[in-house]
């Protein structure tokens, strides 16, 4: 009888009670035990203190589709937050990546929230292109009766601010959708506004649905409410507004002293942060402005010498990016008619903004401002993202970044990138950087360690691939790997050269091709190497390789894309359209991944 259930010594009873209970238990049949457990459950339910009930008690769970289009994950994170709020409100909410959706399916949704960012020069995020194209096509399905609202993410520093969100909004209306709330267009400091809008819009939706339910009670198919206590996606402990202060343990300019470029390899200690990342993720960095530039801005606004204001501007305000809104606002503030006029003329304002910054505006029309006016004019300082260049499996509790120093001259003024120059010029080993994790679940090593990978990453685009190769080296992954790297000069700009040599020798990297543009008269870029290697490259693709592209979005990613299409057309002897379709299939299968900026 030893196998019969016995209360352990640790059970929450006194020793004599345990003895008595065990005496009884030993004698029970399975049926008796089963009855007893049911009885105890009922007893418990009947005698429990009354629980807090959900805020709104609709009788049915309404479906809600939260469709997001993202490149760097902001929209995705907002969609996850919206889902959490909606679930609490009693919606059966799903967050759906536009990459996995089709207009046909979404047209059947009853309630639709669209969260979309804008990229490139007003383009949708890369993974959302199929959906976007389908929706814009003449053959797009009708969205009659679909209740929807659009949250647009963007950056006012770009000419086509929130273009993608605007287009979705207009198109859904044209296709018969019922807009339940005005679109919101969020700038880089979107968090608070976006959250308020989500709360408000879901509240509106809930009210609308409640009205409808009163008119036509009990929608068929709606099931009995179950309070969903499941948590939303685990939230990151550290955020842009509450970043982790990571100590800088190493900081090296990888370019030679003869180089025209400066690319900083920075090693950060994550010890104590609890941050765990995967290769492909990025860190957000909350920079500090150049104090000299802050001085200039303060001086131009007639506020020189205000130490408190200096500190605020240095840490919290964007003192570089110039927007049309700011021109208009500055005009209003100062009553400067010329500025008001300029701010009202989109084309002229755009021309003025080109190559100019806040300081140019202040200098162009000197006016004394109050501290409040100045801070009212400035946007919050947005963090910058950097691909993590290391793997925790190789360097536990560390994250390495590779940061290209941005320096240029426009309109006779030497300019520096806010974040990159902060690292290049002001941070020292032993000091810290404010960071938070920015996961990128769409730019990951293949699940199967045997899958071959092709990595195309010129310039700082090499960063995540160092993470990939480190990771595959640490895990002993069997898959072949091929890296295409490019930069200006072989001798002076070959980032991580010794490490690649080592990885090649160890077999963690199978193949390396490089393109250095300034070593000879003819410019040579990675796409030229792709073309030269087209036979093998296509063979790798046919073998199931995942092709990754990282780095410059403007020229490089486009040229590489076009070249990949040419490679396919040439090797498969198909026309351009079929080659494009091949790449599209790869993209849909998650085998053509881009992380470009």
């Amino acid at each position: 009888m030893a196998s019969l259930p016995m209360l352990p010594d640790t059970a929450p009873f006194a020793a004599e009670q345990i003895a008595v209970l065990n005496k009884v238990m030993v004698a029970t049949t399975p049926e008796q035990r089963s009855w007893l457990s049911g009885f105890l459950a009922g007893y418990q339910a009947a005698t429990a203190a009354p629980q807090a009930s959900p805020a709104a008690p609709p009788a049915t769970r309404q479906p809600l589709s939260i469709l997001f289009a993202t490149e760097s994950g902001n929209s995705e994170a907002l969609a996850a937050k919206a889902r959490l709020v909606a679930t609490r409100l009693g919606f059966a909410a799903r967050a759906i990546d536009m990459a996995d959706a089709t207009p046909e399916v979404m047209a059947k949704a009853s309630n639709l929230l669209v969260i979309a960012s804008t990229w490139g020069e007003g383009d949708p995020p890369q993974r959302a292109i199929d959906f976007y194209t389908g929706l814009m096509a003449d053959a797009a399905p009708r969205f009659d009766g679909v209740r929807y609202a659009v949250l647009a993410l963007g950056d006012r520093a770009y000419a086509n601010f929130c273009e993608t969100g605007r287009r979705f909004d207009e198109r859904l209306a044209a296709l018969g959708g019922a807009r339940i709330a005005d679109r919101i267009e969020c700038d880089v400091d979107y968090e608070t506004r976006a959250k308020a809008w989500i709360d408000g819009t879901l509240g509106t939706l809930q009210a609308l649905l409640a009205e409808a339910a009163d008119a036509d009670p009990a929608e068929p198919g709606a099931d009995v409410i179950h309070v969903d206590f499941a948590r939303g996606p685990a939230e990151q402990a550290w955020t842009r507004s509450r970043p982790f202060e990571a100590e800088i343990t190493e900081r090296i300019n990888l370019n030679s002293s003869r180089s025209t470029a400066e690319t900083w390899h920075v090693e950060l200690s994550l010890a104590g942060s609890g941050i765990t990342y995967e290769p492909g993720d990025a860190l957000g960095f909350v920079p500090t402005n150049d104090p000299a530039l802050v001085d200039e801005v303060l001086t131009a606004a007639g506020l020189a010498g205000d130490a408190t204001l200096h500190a605020a501007l240095a840490d919290r305000f964007d003192v570089t990016t110039l927007t049309r809104l700011q021109i208009a606002e500055f005009g209003r503030m100062t009553g400067d008619a010329a500025l008001i006029e300029l701010g009202a003329d989109a084309a002229r304002a755009a021309a003025f903004i080109e190559g100019r910054q806040v300081i140019d505006l202040l200098a162009a029309a000197p006016h004394r401002l109050t501290p409040e006016q100045l801070t009212g004019l400035l946007r919050p300082l947005p963090p910058r993202l950097y691909s993590i260049a290391s793997s925790l499996r190789a360097v536990p509790e560390e994250a390495h970044l590779l940061i290209g120093a941005v320096r240029f001259e426009t309109h006779g003024r030497a300019r520096k990138g806010v974040a990159s120059a902060d690292v290049a010029e002001r941070r020292r080993v032993g000091e810290t950087m404010k960071v938070y994790l920015k996961p990128n679940s769409h730019f990951r090593l293949p699940a199967d360690p045997a899958t071959p990978i092709v990595m195309i990453g010129p310039g700082t685009g090499i960063a995540p691939f160092r993470a990939f190769v480190q990771d595959r080296d640490a895990t002993g992954a069997a898959g072949r790997s091929w890296l295409f790297f490019g930069n200006r000069q072989y001798t002076h700009d070959f980032l991580y050269q010794l490490e690649w040599q080592d990885f090649l020798a160890r077999g963690a990297l199978s193949r390396l091709d490089v393109a250095f543009s300034r070593d000879q008269r003819e410019k040579v870029y990675v796409q030229h190497r792709l073309w030269e290697q087209r036979r093998d490259l296509y063979a790798w693709m046919e073998d199931g390789a995942v092709v990754y592209v990282c780095g410059d979005a403007n020229a490089m990613a486009k040229d590489v894309h076009a070249t990949l299409a040419r490679v396919i057309a040439d090797q498969a002897s198909v026309d351009a359209e079929a080659a494009q379709a091949y790449l599209d299939r790869m993209r849909r299968a998650g085998r053509y991944l881009r992380d470009v900026y």
Binding site: N255, S256, Q497, V514, D519, Q520
Partner: protein, 570 residues
């Protein structure tokens, strides 16, 4: 000979190289490194190509996660040193597009490019080839560029010695097709099984081999510094034949007194049509008798020391099948160049341009590179390189002189240069030379400026004294044949040698050891003061210091380290 001793590593590399191929072609395609394999870097020398790295950058490279800043030096083979203006323009293009933007004239009458990175190497060599030039055997254990006196103003003899230099060079060129396969041809010619090197054999020579031809009274080639020399004996305006010298060389190693510079011995006289046979048989003798175990003793000069001059001559004559005639008398005057305009015996004019340390670059107002490019654009004659790292704009018709003069003025190339600077020469050394112990090319100009001030103060501004500096004891600027020789010992330190003959016939001798750069002027000033005060009429500085007992005369290479002042040891 060295039968029992272990062969040097290079012998195996050569043996296994399939006639100088090694794995160079494969190495050129490896993207992750700017270098070639160590063994292959020995083989590229035979193709005129040296792997180097920028030593100025060494310290930072590892920390920046980059290998050494590798690049290649390519040395041309230009026997006799004459180039057409079109060739000059082609070289200028190559320097801009594929190398570091400068052209370096060498102490052996040719051109070097520095800073060619691996990916530019094939395009550079191919471009050199398109200019009807090559780098074959410019380095390596073979006969190198054959040099000849630059005396275009004696048209017939100059023509004859340049033609001879070319013929000798051609006769001793390696026959392997490896060069064309690797650097020029697109497809590989068969693997070399059928090839043979009738003169050299599979393992070529034990060491480098150098030939110089001089036309007295000029000794600009420093005929006694080379393994093999031919001194033209001009009788009645035509070359009757050549005195043959053998066993010259400069290189030595600090602290190893069994290595030493040596002036060649005059072996005898041969007729013009015997020159090639003599050259071939001196080469085969060295091939068979040279030391293949210890590269520091492998040059012909040590072979001759071992065999004795007579023994060597006997072996040579046995191979030739004839005896050399007794040497004929000759008279040498100096080993420098003659600058500025000179009328030639054919009515054409020739302008010898001073090129400081051979470096053709635009520096300040002296825009050598651009200037020579401009001159090459209008010049109808030739360019003749000299063995003192200078260049002669040769064969200028009288009516073309003003145009050349105008360009020389325009590019700041007509200014006066002091006699001391004109007779000064430095080897390349830092940052490209892997063997340099001290600065040379980058330092000598400022040292000369300091010494010039002393010379001017002493009224010696017009007096020529030969001054040569090298960054190490290998002796690339032939410092042991300079009246003042400075040889690098370590960063900022030099050994000071005195007492060579102005005409290049006598080696100098160690006068002071480990002189810091800051102390050089102070070390020389009292000697120059004494010279200014006490010299006899026409007496050369090199002879003066011997007469006054500052150093003893070096009578032969094997006495170079002997007869030092008390307390001095080599």
């Amino acid at each position: 000979m060295a039968d029992e001793k272990k062969l040097s590593r290079n012998e195996t590399i050569k043996e296994e190289s399939r006639f100088l191929r090694g794995s160079i072609a494969e190495g050129l395609h490896r993207a992750e490194t700017g270098a070639l394999s160590e063994d292959d870097t020995q083989l590229t020398k035979f193709h005129g190509i040296y792997q180097q790295d920028d030593r100025d950058l060494r310290a930072e490279r590892g920390r920046k996660k980059m290998e050494k800043a590798f690049s290649f030096m390519a040395r041309l083979r230009i026997p006799g040193g004459t180039l057409t203006p079109a060739q000059w323009l082609a070289l200028d293009d190559i320097a801009q597009e594929r190398a570091n933007g400068t052209i370096r004239l060498t102490t052996r009458q040719t051109v070097q490019f520095h800073g060619i990175i691996k990916t530019n190497l094939r395009p550079a060599i191919a471009a050199i080839n398109r200019a009807m030039l090559d780098t074959v055997a410019a380095c390596g254990d073979v006969n190198r560029n054959v040099i000849a006196t630059s005396n275009p103003y004696e048209r017939a003899t100059h023509g004859a010695v340049v033609a001879l230099a070319r013929a000798v060079s051609l006769a001793l060129l390696p026959k392997s097709r490896a060069y064309h396969e690797i650097w020029i041809g697109d497809e590989l010619v068969a693997g070399g099984e059928e090839e043979d090197e009738p003169i050299y054999g599979r393992t070529y020579l034990p060491r480098k081999f150098k030939i110089a031809i001089t036309v007295p009274p000029h000794n600009d080639v420093d005929v006694f510094a080379h393994d093999l020399g031919f001194i033209a004996i001009v009788e009645d305006g035509r070359i009757a034949g050549y005195n043959v010298t053998a066993g010259g060389g400069m290189g030595m190693t600090h602290g190893e007194p069994d290595t030493f510079p040596r002036t060649g011995d005059v072996l005898g006289f041969c007729a013009p049509d015997q020159v090639i046979a003599v050259a071939e048989q001196v080469v085969t003798t060295q091939r068979d008798f040279g030391d293949r175990a210890d590269r520091k003793h492998a040059r012909l000069k040590y072979t001759i020391e071992r065999m004795g001059v007579d023994g060597f001559r006997a072996e040579l004559e046995r191979r030739l099948g004839f005896a050399l005639a007794p040497a004929r008398p000759f008279h040498l005057e100096g080993n420098g160049d003659r600058y500025g305009w000179r009328e030639g015996d054919d009515g054409l004019a020739h302008y010898t341009l001073f090129v400081e340390n051979g470096r053709i670059a635009d520096t300040g107002t002296r825009r050598l590179l651009s200037g020579l490019r401009a001159i090459a654009g209008v010049h109808a004659g030739t360019f003749v390189l000299t063995c003192n790292q200078n260049l002669t704009i040769a064969q200028v018709a009288p009516d073309r002189r003003p145009a050349i003069d105008a360009l020389l003025a325009e590019y700041g190339l007509d200014g006066d240069v002091t006699a001391l600077r004109r007779h000064a020469m430095a080897c390349v050394a830092l940052p490209t030379c892997g063997l340099a112990l001290a600065e040379s090319e980058r330092y000598l100009p400022s040292l000369v400026t300091e010494l010039d001030a002393v010379m001017a103060r002493l009224g010696l501004a017009e007096d020529a004294i030969t001054l040569r500096m090298t960054g190490c004891p290998n002796g690339c600027a032939r410092p042991y044949l300079a009246e003042i020789g400075l040889v690098g010992r370590g960063p900022g330190t030099y050994n000071l040698y005195l007492g060579a003959a102005f005409d290049g016939s006598r080696l100098n001798k160690l006068y002071m050891k480990d002189v810091s750069d800051a102390a050089i002027v102070a070390a020389l000033t009292p000697l120059l003061e004494e010279y200014a005060r006490d010299r006899e009429s026409g007496e050369r500085f090199g002879d003066f210091v011997i007469r006054r007992g500052h150093v003893q005369a070096t009578v032969g290479g094997n006495r170079f380290h002997a007869d030092l002042a008390p307390g001095l040891a080599a």
